[in-house]
């Protein structure tokens, strides 16, 4: 596989998703020394970042009709805000 083919392939996004998953796992696993609320928010936002990647790249919403993109972003933004507030209260 050439660099160009790799760059076009879904595996670059997959690598990013795996990296964020690893980071999220470490943050969630070793929470004893850090402020729990902050680490909890990090875990939630890392998950939402991964969801954004899956939606825009794998589900191809990035190049889709504007209304579909806006609907996806609205859902994700709303969910993120509500989950963050719910977690902190």
């Amino acid at each position: 596989m050439t660099y160009r083919e790799f760059h076009r392939s879904p595996w670059l996004i997959w690598l990013l998703l795996v990296a964020v998953t690893g980071l999220s796992y470490l943050v969630g696993h070793f929470t004893g020394t850090v402020d729990t609320r902050l680490t909890g928010l990090c875990v939630l936002w890392f998950a939402l970042l991964k969801v954004l990647c899956v939606m825009s790249e794998f589900m191809e919403m990035r190049g889709a009709a504007p209304w579909l993109r806006r609907l996806g972003v609205a859902w994700l933004g709303g969910l993120g805000a509500l989950m963050s507030v719910s977690y902190l209260t």
Binding site: P10, M55, F58, M59, G78, M83
Partner: protein, 195 residues
């Protein structure tokens, strides 16, 4: 541009797959969003029980399942690109690998459930495990349906048809598989990782 002239609907500012699949997808996302928020609400009411119960889950199992889901999604995305490029056999291979990842996910889930039952834990143990079994159970049903969809896509890829209708069906199936993946991403964070 695809070699065989069959382009993605999304490349023209349309929608990937059928409109109907997006109605199903957003309906599903709304239902799961309610699940997530109810879970967080119950969690804040009884944090000690939720934390203690979370400690009984095997995080490596959840991590392994997340990696399997992410890999399967990448394989499905790769299959779709291969089909657009007119490489039906490459698409079929990628779909078979995605299907294998789905099987692996199910296997890990069975092992995990068995370990919980061996500990005497079930959906009636407490609120955390009620949510755990309901959410992961409903998600597992989605995985099984999505594997059926992958099976259908494999038949499409094997048939060698590469017209626009086939591509649209393929895109719809791929979208559904990715939704199953993204729901698990949030479930993993909520059930296994959230401190």
């Amino acid at each position: 541009m695809a070699r065989n002239g069959v382009e993605a609907a999304s490349s023209e500012g349309g929608i990937p797959g059928e409109l109907g699949i997006w109605v199903v997808v957003f309906g599903d996302l709304m239902v799961f969003s309610c699940f997530f928020l109810v879970f967080l609400d119950y969690r804040s009411d009884d944090l000690a029980t939720f934390r203690a119960s979370q400690g009984l889950l095997q995080q490596p199992h959840g991590l392994l399942n997340t990696l399997l889901m992410l890999a399967s999604s990448a394989f499905v995305a790769q299959a779709l690109r291969a089909l657009r490029d007119g490489a039906g056999s490459a698409a079929l291979r990628s779909l078979q690998l995605a299907f294998a990842c789905g099987l692996g996910f199910g296997l890990v889930k069975v092992v995990e459930y068995a370990a919980k039952f061996a500990l005497g834990v079930n959906a009636y143990s407490n609120d955390f495990f009620m949510f755990y079994f309901i959410f992961t159970g409903i998600h597992m049903c989605h995985v099984l349906v999505a594997m059926g969809v992958l099976w259908y896509l494999m038949r499409l890829a094997r048939s060698g048809r590469q017209d626009s209708v086939t591509l649209r069906n393929f895109e719809s199936g791929a979208v559904f598989w990715h939704v199953v993946d993204l729901l698990w991403i949030v479930l993993f964070a909520l059930l296994y990782l959230l401190p």
